[in-house]
Symmetry: C2
Subunit: 353 residues, 2 copies
């Protein structure tokens, strides 16, 4: 028999709910259901929809889609080479701006230096600029933040050199934060070979040394982020599989297993999945908690997931914990293996400013 | 009639003398003759030879080739993904390390972030790391210098956003220097269209706004560098013209013309072409000066040049100054329109350390 413990509910700063534009992969309803099932009370949704959330009409469409959410949510605005002038209006409706400095899924990409400068200059100093920045783009992003006095949030750190550079930047007082995903903490390029396209995401899985460097530098990492990026199995098994894997329902079981194995403390885990994202992104949700059972012997199974795509790169992996209940603002929203709240229960996060 | 004035002889930190490996384009003898004819007593030669100066044997071959020089000279070492361990030995024989972070002429390219980190970590802190870094690579280079405590020298700044970013980096105390070429100061993309392949170089000619930004921010620019990069006319007019233009013999006439037009002071020009490179790169050559005639009406002519390639992107441009004599360490090395010293007169620069 396992042991029931109550922890703060999670806040995931990096999900792709695909709604609107990719609702065959996920919707605000199925994606936020997956969040609740995974122990999260709040998710921040990325802007690489089709069309991207890079103009105010597209943002309005996402606001309408999000009305079906069963957990709380916020939005990232998509910066482009052409929309720096919309920054004030976008900042009033979004948690932060996402800039895709290197190529990944979707049409958003800003790899032109003067366009990057325009975006960094236009965005409010108090709000995060989250960057998808592989390779040297990580360095460019950090410098842009420093030169223009902005807060840069490095998404899904995946390589040893990268976390070492971020450590140095933090030591020098740069205003930079970063996140790590469970897949980069638990999988490597060896798994990617075994998984085939199901193990393909951006940034790609690293070497065993990269993975170890992430664990060794957990003190430099601010936030755990799932980068929940569902695609259908058919798409992933096609000739041109899109990058991305789901992650909302597997993050806490995997991380709690790591706690049980002594790889990090429970306090550090709570800081990564709740305290830091709440503080950094200005999210307050009283009476939001998760009841987990630890000490169990279970295996991750894609066909038990709430996410519409119903597969996982962690298929079959043994975990020692499971999410029993998720409470949001005093209401039991997930329990007994099902969603207990109606579409629209989720509220949009408001910053206290 | 013009007016004769004596000025310090030039030190050009950025030339490509193509020797060994491309001696049909230029040799140490013809390239240093062009330097003398242009008013330069010293040039620092870049490592993108064929094969590149990225191992100690190649460096030895360049040392042998340079024995024919008629002006003083030094070498840049070529950093690669594989040669960080040679840094101490290379630093003892070279002025600094050149890193090609974006693609240009020749096989040297390091665009892999961990390899860049290795090079920056290995290179001695007191010696420059010169970077060919177009676009966001400029930002990555500056940050690498700051994170790893190294001196970064940004070659051939060509864009408005770039000089603005370097200004901010300097204001924040970053150890960064930069150079500008005459072709980026005097030509634009309009000229490139008219010149065809003769106007192609890396980085490419910018917009009129880019060019104006360079003039408007001359106070941020440390050094004038010709980026003398000769190719034969046949090569430049071929189906796949290589990037690069000669510049050693046109830099001072063009810049002195700008002085006459009030675009910069003579003191500022001397700082750019002599004082700053002497101080930064540790080059001392007493009794080295140039006698120029100002107030003349002349036109630049490729067929009068000492460079082996004998063409210029400035063909026909009116200039108001010409180089009459160049003295190196007390000897008149150029005068009466010809080289007055024998091959081997040139000495290798020694740092005072």
């Amino acid at each position: 028999m396992g042991k029931r413990i109550q922890l703060p509910a999670g806040i995931d700063p990096h999900v792709h709910l695909r709604d609107p534009g990719g609702t065959h992969k996920e919707t605000f309803l199925t994606g936020t259901a997956a969040a609740l099932a995974g122990g999260y009370s709040c998710v921040l949704d990325m802007p690489n929809n089709q069309p991207p959330i890079a103009d105010l009409e597209a943002l309005s469409a996402k606001e309408r889609a999000a009305a079906a959410a069963v957990c709380d949510y916020g939005f990232w605005w998509g910066g482009t080479a052409a929309n720096a002038d919309l920054a004030p209006q976008a900042a009033a409706r979004c948690v932060g701006m996402k800039v895709y400095m290197t190529h990944t899924y979707g049409p958003l990409l800003v790899d032109d230096a003067p366009a990057l400068v325009r975006l960094f200059q236009a965005w409010p100093a108090g709000r995060p600029i989250a960057v998808h920045a592989e390779g040297s783009a990580t360095l460019a992003a950090i410098l842009l933040g420093q030169l223009y006095g902005k807060w840069v949030h490095i998404c899904h750190v995946s390589e040893a050199w990268q976390i070492a550079a971020i450590r140095r930047a933090k030591e020098q007082g740069f205003r930079v934060t970063c996140e790590v995903t469970p897949h980069h903490l638990f999988l490597t390029e060896d798994d990617a070979r075994a998984l085939g396209s199901l193990g393909q995401m951006r940034p790609p899985l690293g070497t065993a040394a990269d993975r170890q460097a992430l664990w060794d530098n957990l003190d430099v990492i601010d936030v755990l982020a799932t980068d929940h990026a569902p695609h259908t199995l058919e798409e992933k098994r096609s000739a041109n599989p899109p990058p991305g894997v789901p992650g909302l329902e597997t993050a806490l079981p995997l991380m709690l297993t790591a706690v049980a194995e002594g790889r990090l403390t429970l306090e550090r885990l709570v800081a990564l999945y709740h305290d830091a994202p709440a503080r950094l992104f200005g999210i307050s949700a009283p009476d939001s908690f998760v009841v987990v059972e630890t000490g169990v012997r279970a295996a991750i199974r894609g066909d038990t997931l709430q996410t519409k795509c119903r597969w996982t790169p962690f298929e079959g992996m043994a975990v020692g914990a499971r999410v029993l209940e998720t409470w949001v603002r005093g209401t039991r929203a997930w329990g007994d293996g099902r969603i207990l709240v109606a579409p629209g229960f989720g509220q949009r996060v408001r910053r206290g400013e």
